[in-house]
Amino acid sequence: MSASHSYGPRPWTFYALAALFTLFVIFLYGPMIAVLVLSFQGPSGSLVFPLRDPSLMWFDELFNPRRTGDVMGALGRSLPLAVLVMILTVLISVTAGFAFRRRFRGATIIFYTAIASLIIPGLVLSIGTLVTFKYLGLRAAWYTSALGAHLSWSLPFGLLIMFAILGRLSPSYEEAAYDLGASKWQTVKNVVVPIVFPGMIAVALFGFTLSYDEFPRSWLTVGTKNTLPLEIWTMTTNVTSPALYALGTVTTVVSFIVIAIALGSIVIIQRKRSRGK
């Protein structure tokens, strides 16, 4: 909690870096806010500012599939896919994370395979998965090939987060619990889970959002029906109305709800735990 230097007047670098930070935040959020505002553009407004007679017409148009394509359908595939990826990412990377606390044969090769899977260009993997499904005579679909392609990218992320979390869980905590007479189950429930749980929520958040927003890995693997990012991509070339911004607002709101749930539950858990002490 202590600052690097003893408390005293702030050095000039503080103000310089605070200014840099503020500019960076404006740079990060400014364009997003612009899109958010412009999605309420009225009938006489254009794709740019100023905002004229604010209305909800573009949201209305968005859910009217005649004009803008199958947005609702795409959302109806993207959400279950993201939830599926989230659940599997948590289950698989948490269990694997525990294995890596011990030395075992093949640890190095699995680790480097995971890293390679993380940094391989999404397009390369997309082609590979498509070719694999072709050779196996399977049909590509969002719940098979796209699910696998998304997992190959969310699992390494989940694993890295688990490394960071489990680094803080010293094996001596568990040993202490055993020495005090706790059973294996009690140790897991009262020692391991409380330490690991916030990290699991972080893994879940990554799993969900990485899948929900993933484009390159979905591109060739979703089969005949688009997920939401692909639908947006098609719209960027076909749709030249603020409906595109309205879609941006809708997707971002979904993301923000998910982020709020995740961060909120981490805060609640931390608070409960500190009250328990």
């Binding site: 202590s2 870096l17 840099l20 390679a116 940094i119 391989i120 993997l125 070719v131 927003d213 923000f256």
Partner: protein, 287 residues
């Protein structure tokens, strides 16, 4: 007991290994295999060994131009994101005195990461466009009397979008490394007579190198493998190392697309290996 433990470990890593095998190892192996097959119009992939796909690629001057352009983007973006990532992390870790505030500001930086990349890209249009916020602002202020054309659909806007999307990949690992630095080290250095810059150069920078290496790995590989940002933000004017792959796929020429993919993969893996040579990332991660 030992037998039992081995079995547990095996069961714990089995699901991860199975997914990585079927959705990473097999696809990559098949891409490599197909890249040596022949392509025939209307038939598609013909399983006959050939090096033609690679020869075509290497003899095509466009390949080289595209790779050069992608490497140029990667280096520019790497430099900018490193400077931003380093100083923002430094600010959060060493200048913000309250831990809760520091974590809050860190989250402010990370939230956009969890939203859609495509939407974040598109959101530059009303800002940088000919009638966008910046041009209309400058026109109104009387600084310019013609809108700047180079703000959007140019190399400039490509770099802006990359920095916008990828700086986070620098901030998170560098922040993580810096947060682990024992603050008393800095005080010791100052007591020993080091200047502020001396501390940054000799203590903070070397101790953050794992984070910097991981960040660089993410940024470079993301830029190298990108197709969509460069296409949207350059308005189709610039290509990337993946453009050839994209074109081949439109014509269902999987073998040549696979050859492009293999070349790209080799380049990316070489970069990754170079970074891992410089810093033992694994030792730092699994402790």
């Amino acid at each position: 007991m030992a037998q039992n433990k081995n079995l547990t470990t095996f069961l714990q890593v089995a699901p991860l290994s199975v997914v990585l095998f079927f959705f990473f190892v097999v696809p990559v192996a098949l891409v490599v295999l197909v890249s040596f097959f022949r392509y025939q119009m209307l038939v598609g992939i013909v399983p006959q060994f050939t090096l033609k796909n690679y020869v075509d690629l290497i003899n095509n001057p466009t390949t080289w131009t595209l790779y050069l352009s992608t490497i140029k983007f990667a280096l520019i973006v790497l430099a900018i994101t490193f400077v931003l990532g380093f100083w923002i992390s430094y600010f959060l870790v060493f200048h913000v005195r309250n831990l809760i505030v520091a974590i809050g500001l860190f989250l402010v930086c990370t939230v956009p990461f969890w939203t859609s990349n495509i939407i974040r890209m598109i959101s530059w249009r009303p800002v940088l466009g000919k009638e966008g916020l910046i041009n209309s602002g400058l026109l109104k202020a009387g600084i310019i009397d013609q809108p700047y054309q180079w703000l959007l659909y140019s190399d400039f806007s490509v770099v802006v979008a990359y920095v916008h999307l990828f700086t986070l990949f620098m901030i998170v690992p560098i922040f993580n490394s810096m947060a682990r630095i024992d603050k008393s080290l800095l005080e010791a250095a100052i007591d020993a007579g080091a200047t502020r810059w001396g501390v940054i150069w000799n203590v903070v920078l070397p101790l953050s190198k794992t984070g910097i290496a991981l960040g660089a790995l993410f940024v470079v590989t993301l830029v190298m493998g990108d197709f969509f940002v460069v296409t949207v933000m350059s308005g189709g004017l610039s290509g990337s190392a993946t453009s050839g792959m994209f074109n081949d796929l439109q014509f269902m020429n999987y073998p040549r697309a696979a050859a492009s993919a293999v070349v790209l993969l080799i380049v990316v893996l070489l970069i990754a290996t170079a970074i891992f040579r410089l810093v033992d990332v694994r030792k730092e991660l699994v402790r």
